[in-house]
């Protein structure tokens, strides 16, 4: 079952002055439970593609369907709501809310969704158990290592029970031990709970774990290999 359908996506920056074609007609589909990496050299368009799939950026042309919903046609407010309910994000530089504790960071999206306090607490505990940080739940992000912060970011991304998680260079700021730990957690969540992960990465360790590797160059898919 396809949860993401990408049809003829193009993205051109600075159309009027000096056009840069970041994406040139991308067609892809992702199914529930995939653990996929989008790889390519810097400037190949992988982050742009991830941003467009996540509804953070608009394509110049083409359509993205998520569970049959054309998100490129949604208004700003509806797109924000759609993101909140359906898409989890993990950023390269963690981007946790610095004034919130680990627990509050994870709860935040559930709060936006209007989930009850009891349910929020239950799910936060489950997620922090899953990423091995329940003992740090009352700490603020600045008291955690980079690896720990990124695990909190994964827990936050999962909090809203999204249809899939988009992770943009999630290991770029982590040492090898933290990277391994993080990848193990994400792989476990993928295998045991069938959560879909799509990464954009340069990191060979991430690529090695991925069951599908999509290579992009000059805004085009040049290979799409599934193990």
């Amino acid at each position: 079952m396809n949860i993401i359908e990408i049809r003829g996506i193009c993205k051109t920056y600075d159309k009027k002055t000096l056009p840069v074609h970041a994406l040139n007609g991308i067609d892809l589909t992702f199914q529930k439970g995939e653990f996929a990496s989008i790889v390519g050299p810097s400037g190949s368009g992988k982050t742009t593609l991830l941003n467009i799939i996540g509804g953070l950026d608009d394509p110049t042309d083409g359509v993205i369907l998520i569970d049959g919903v054309n998100i490129t046609a949604l208004s700003g407010r509806k797109k924000t709501q759609f993101r909140m309910k359906n898409i989890g994000f993990v950023f390269q530089s963690f981007n946790l809310i610095p004034v919130f504790t680990v627990k509050e960071n994870v709860e935040f999206i559930m709060h936006l969704q209007g989930i009850s306090k009891e349910e929020r607490e239950k799910r936060t505990n489950e997620l922090l158990d899953a990423v091995g940080l329940n003992d740090k739940k009352n700490n603020r992000p600045n008291k955690l290592s980079g690896g720990q912060q990124q695990r909190v970011a994964v827990a936050r991304a999962l909090a809203s029970k999204p249809k899939f998680i988009l992770a943009d260079e999630p290991t770029a700021n982590l040492d090898s031990k933290s990277t391994e730990n993080l990848l193990d957690i994400m792989e476990k969540l993928n295998q045991e709970e069938n959560i879909t992960f799509i990464f954009s990465t340069h990191d060979s360790r991430v690529v090695n774990k991925a069951r599908r590797v999509i290579t992009i160059e000059d805004g085009k898919v040049i290979s799409d290999i599934s193990n």
């Binding site: 941003n51 996540g54 953070l56 950026d57 700003g76 407010r77 924000t80 709501q81 993101r83 909140m84 309910k85 994000f89 950023f91 981007n95 809310i97 610095p98 004034v99 919130f100 509050e104 709860e107 935040f108 999206i109 709060h111 936006l112 969704q113 936050r156 809203s160």
Partner: protein, 405 residues
């Protein structure tokens, strides 16, 4: 909602030093502007009270045209009808009758134009406290045939207690007026001008002297406080006939009001400059809020609507403003309380000037609620207006641009 409040509150303390500097600028702004307003309003109030209690009262009834042409021919008959009307208005605490006119006053070899004020000694004293201003002798009793003089006039005419003063003038409708009166008391009137020309005498004697039996030039009326003046005035206007007019203290003291008004404008300008300085201090902090673009981008990326983000930033501005405003207001209370009972004395030329105007030479303070809430509210509104800046920034914010910043 609690989460948004928590987020906003913690955000303002992310940079403690910056927040403390900003709230301190608001604190001092509120404190200074409250202090200044209290001093202005307290002094104005003192001037008004002084003028109301020393001469005009809160309200007066005259014959139409008397105020612009103060001659004895513009007097009116004080009949039972007026008296019962005055007694029927419950808010009137006391009233008294006066017959005021001008005459020549002579002692042994000196003559001077004076203002003769026929009064009901008992009631007049309750209003203007003449007995409290006595320097020599005693105050008049009802029906007394003596007179009271201002000390300046007594000095000019070289009169002492029990000396005789001769009054020669024109009575009602051109009748001759002449009489001899023993000096019973000498007062120090707060107005130096009146101190040099004022002669008080019992109203009956005065009416006899000027051939104006039962005639008055004014009825002076007191109420509990200034708030009741308009109400009582309206009632009086309904009850008095077309021949008389009712004037309130503001109409009778237009010059003082103009002076107060121009002084108040000066105060507004000074406070305006103060507010601007504070505003720039707050703006610095608020601009830094707008610089948290990336953080805003992340929050919007994970699904927070812009209007909620705007709400949080407005809350941050409100918290900043409230801390400074509340602290400034609370700190100003004991300070003003102290000065309320210990006015700052005015010395030198400034003191002389105020004294010449007939007022006590001191800076008085007021603690009416408006002194506090008007300043607090003004600075709070300033803070909110400055808070529009980050709101406009967030409205324009695009998630992608914010994430890239």
């Amino acid at each position: 909602m609690q989460t948004y409040f928590k987020l906003a509150w913690r955000n303002i303390w992310r940079n403690k030093r910056r927040t403390l500097i900003t709230t301190a600028s608001i604190f001092f702004g509120v404190l200074l502007s409250t202090f200044m307003t209290s001093m202005q309003e307290g002094s104005y109030s003192q001037y008004i009270t002084s003028i109301v209690n020393s001469y005009s009262g809160y309200l007066q009834i005259h014959k139409k045209g008397y105020w612009n042409d103060k001659i004895i021919n513009n007097s009116f008959l004080f009949d039972k009808n007026i008296e019962s009307n005055l007694k029927s208005i419950k808010k009137i605490t006391i009233y008294t009758q006066r017959l005021e006119t001008y005459s020549l006053a002579s002692s042994e070899d000196v003559t001077k134009g004076v203002m003769v004020m026929g009064i009901d000694p008992e009631k007049e004293d309750k209003i203007t406290n003449i007995s409290g201003k006595l320097k020599h002798g005693r105050f008049l009793k009802n029906g007394d045939n003596g007179i009271i003089l201002g000390s300046g006039l007594a000095r000019f005419l070289k009169l002492k207690i029990n000396d005789t003063l001769v009054l020669i003038g024109q009575g009602y409708h051109g009748a001759g007026a002449a009489g001899k009166y023993p000096v019973k008391g000498i007062i120090k009137h707060p107005s130096p001008e009146l101190d040099r020309i004022l002669v008080y005498m019992d109203i009956k004697n005065c009416q006899d002297l000027f051939s104006a039996p039962d005639m008055l030039t004014s009825v002076v009326i007191m109420v509990h406080d200034n708030d009741e003046v308009t109400l009582v005035k309206n009632e009086l206007v309904q009850l008095t006939d077309y021949n008389t007019e009712v004037m309130d203290w503001q109409e009778m003291n237009r010059l003082l009001l103009k002076q107060i008004e121009s002084d108040r404008i000066g105060g507004v300008i000074t406070k305006g400059v103060l507010y601007m300085i504070i505003a720039f201090g707050i703006l610095g902090t608020v601009m830094m809020m707008a610089e948290r673009k990336k953080e805003f981008g992340v929050i919007m990326a994970v699904g927070m609507q812009k209007y909620k983000l705007i709400f949080i930033v407005i809350l941050e501005t409100i918290f900043l403003g409230m801390i400074g405003v509340i602290a400034g207001t609370v700190a100003s209370i004991p300070l003003l309380y102290y000065f309320l009972f210990n006015p700052i004395p005015l010395t030198g030329q400034a003191g002389e000037m105020v004294l010449q105007m007939g007022f006590e030479p001191a800076m008085f303070f007021s603690m009416t609620p408006s002194v506090f809430y008007e300043q607090a509210l003004t600075i709070f509104i300033f803070t909110l207006i400055i808070g529009i800046y980050p709101v406009l920034n967030i409205r324009k914010l695009k998630v992608m641009n914010a994430l890239r910043s």
